[in-house]
């Protein structure tokens, strides 16, 4: 059978008919992902129509002379494709692209870190990849708005246009601790991440001592970072007592903002306090 095929396209309901010539199919250069289309054919007899690419592989049996219809949602993965119409010994081919739909449907929002100290310039970063309903990256530039808000600080907001489907930004952590919402929005879809803005190192570490029977009771003042944020409970404070060539140490966690321990009371003992790499005051115990 020596068939000549007429192929055209009906994209989004608009017919665009082209003739196939010399074994080469004439197709529209692009289709929109997921849209319905129809390809008229000419001639008579049976044939097989293929659309093949890295994204999809479709096959349709064709009655030549009848159009080949592809309902919405049949060809949806963006990419470069080959169309093949095979009938007996005759094969005609063409190439075309499927492009992402224009409407954003999904954001993949990579926000880092999930936790950081307060007052860090550009400490928070977010990258938003914008996809259509079929998980195709939308390459057409789109405005993405980023917003970082924390109950006790002013809102940081900026709009960035996507390039190659991605928009990114950097923002400062607030000066006050708390849970911040980091939102990326494009059109009417959005994605939210929660960023914990936590206190920094203790700024001033001060302990006091008072006698308690045979022991000395040591207690820190409420610990705060240099921005006045209370250092979180559980932070380890190390108390060290040195006396007569001997030493006692306790790693005590902050509870309700303070660390408190009892150590043996030796007159003349030196008692120091530290938390991480921050050193506090030193007391020479003389019984009072």
């Amino acid at each position: 059978m020596n068939a000549r095929f007429l192929l055209g396209a009906l994209v989004l309901g608009v017919a665009s008919v082209s003739l196939a010539q010399s074994g080469s199919l004439s197709l529209p250069p692009t289709f929109v992902a997921g849209s319905a289309f129809s390809l008229p054919t000419t001639g008579s007899g049976k044939a097989v129509f293929y659309i093949v690419g890295p994204g999809q592989a479709l096959r349709r049996d064709v009655d030549l002379g009848e159009p080949v219809s592809f309902p919405a949602g049949t060809l949806y993965n963006a990419g470069h494709y080959v169309a093949i119409l095979s009938s007996g010994a005759s094969t005609e081919t063409g190439q075309f692209d499927v492009v992402p739909a224009a409407q954003p449907e999904k954001i993949s929002f990579l926000a880092k870190p999930s936790r950081l100290p307060v007052g860090l310039h550009n400490g928070i970063s977010g990258a938003a990849y914008i996809f259509d309903a079929y998980h195709n990256l939308i390459l057409k530039p789109l405005p993405v708005s980023f917003e970082l808000s924390n109950q006790s600080s002013t809102v940081q907001a900026r709009t960035v246009t996507t390039r190659n489907g991605v928009a990114w930004t950097e923002m400062d952590s607030a000066t006050k601790q708390g849970s911040a919402k980091f939102v990326a929005r494009v059109g009417d879809i959005s994605s939210t991440r929660v960023i914990a803005e936590v206190p920094g190192d203790p700024c001033r570490l001060v302990m006091t001592a008072r006698p308690d029977g045979k022991n000395v009771e040591l207690q820190t003042a409420p610990l705060r970072d240099c921005g006045g944020n209370p250092v979180p409970d559980g932070t380890i404070v190390t108390f060290t007592e040195s006396y007569n060539g001997m030493q006692s140490t306790v790693d005590a966690p902050l509870k309700q903002g303070i660390a408190k321990v009892e150590m043996p009371a030796y007159n003349g003992a030196r008692i120091s306090v530290a938390s991480g790499v921050v050193a506090g005051n030193e007391i020479r115990w003389n019984g009072r």
């Binding site: 999930s114 990849y129 380890i236 060539g245 006692s248 140490t249 790693d251």
Partner: protein, 375 residues
């Protein structure tokens, strides 16, 4: 033909004879390994009586050992068993007596003192224990008076605890790209120092959890040769306190047996941290630490559990510094008994004699493990 039969019959008779002799007068070693009464079945001398007791402990025949004691009226069999295996779950509970040595201290016609040094095996290595046995001659044999270490009694009391712990919810297993997860804690190596020893290079250091959440930590060191190739890579294994609370510092020690420091051009350090659930309790005080210089250099001290919970296994790790604050050595010890509340337990950490002269001060941390606790 007749000669062959004669030889076969002779061998048969000799075999039967040897079996009979072995059954009636067995060799004590064979009896011991067969689970019988053991070596030194006789108690005709103080040494033999001590050995017999040690063998019974080795075989875990504690009822038999108890029944042989001269002072068993002073304590129950259960107290004797608790003395050897621990009254609460601890390293002793699953320890086995590996070897022992007996050393006479004093002997008269009717009394003797023997030092029994026991080497126990546990999953984290061995620990040693020496008991001074008092023996009394009773007729033609000697009996051991066991020096029972009484179980400490914690006075009834109530501890007010502001229970503080962290729980973590991680993201699910699905590969939802971009979905939120919780970051690993930020940890930092604040000191690192390689030391050349006869057995190889040892990398010492300290690691700080600078985050506000607890971390499970480990450190890997990779030795690089001058041509950039990897000489060896090891991690800190158990020479580190694996759970670090916020702003807590742990020492670490990584051994590279058979490597000389001259072979090394650089060392790559990789601290590893994972966010874990943890509890801020119990607090363990390290009391009365005293460093004893050479020749038998060691750090002695006591651990005191400040909480109301029993700590089943405690691991003491000490960093030793010179007078300039530079790292000199890291050493540690597992405590074989559980830490009861407010009950001090001794520790003893040996230090290499050649390094001891450089040591000016030290810092000790305690890692603790509690039965039934996930943190």
């Amino acid at each position: 033909m007749a000669k062959g039969i004669l030889i076969a019959v002779s061998i048969g008779i000799a075999t039967v004879l040897l079996i009979v002799i072995g059954t009636i007068w067995p060799v004590s070693t064979a009896v011991f390994f067969a689970g019988g009464p053991g070596l030194g079945g006789s108690a005709s001398t103080p040494i033999a009586a001590s050995r017999r007791l040690a063998n019974e402990i080795h075989q875990h025949a504690l009822a038999k050992a108890y029944s042989s004691l001269g002072n068993k009226a002073q304590f129950t069999e259960q107290e004797f068993v608790s003395d050897l295996t621990g009254s609460t779950l601890s390293l002793r509970t699953y320890a086995t007596l590996d070897t022992y040595e007996v050393r006479p201290l004093h002997e008269s016609a009717n009394e003797a003192e023997i030092a029994l040094r026991m080497h126990w095996s546990t999953v984290v290595g061995t620990f040693e224990e020496t008991r001074d046995l008092h023996l009394v001659k009773n007729g033609d044999h000697w009996v051991v008076d066991w020096p029972l270490v009484k179980k400490p009694v914690v006075p009834p009391q109530v501890f007010a605890v502001n229970y503080l712990r962290w729980d973590v919810i991680y993201r699910g297993a699905g590969d939802d790209w971009g979905s939120q997860d919780v970051d690993a804690p930020h940890v930092r190596i604040i000191d690192m120092h390689p030391v050349n020893r006869a057995e190889g290079v040892v990398v010492l250091g300290e690691l700080l959890n600078e985050d506000v959440v607890p971390a499970y930590v480990s450190v890997r060191a990779t030795l690089l040769a001058k041509n950039g190739s990897v000489l060896a890579s090891e991690d800190s294994f158990d020479k580190i306190s694996h759970t670090l609370l916020p702003k807590q510092v742990t020492p670490f020690l990584i051994r590279f047996p058979g490597v000389d420091i001259s072979q090394i051009a650089s060392i790559r350090m990789d601290p590893i941290s994972v966010l874990v659930s943890a509890s801020a309790d119990p607090v363990i005080e390290v009391q009365n630490q005293k460093f004893n210089g050479p020749p038998a250099a060691s750090l002695n001290g006591q651990l005191s559990n400040q909480s109301g919970q029993i700590v089943n296994i405690a691991h003491v790790l000490t960093t030793f510094y010179d007078k300039n604050g530079q790292l000199v050595w890291v050493a540690g010890q597992y405590i074989d008994r559980a830490l009861l509340p407010q009950t001090p337990v001794d520790f003893h950490i040996p230090v290499p004699a050649d390094l001891a002269k450089n040591i000016a001060n030290e810092r000790t941390v305690v890692a603790s493990y509690r039965s039934g606790s996930s943190d």
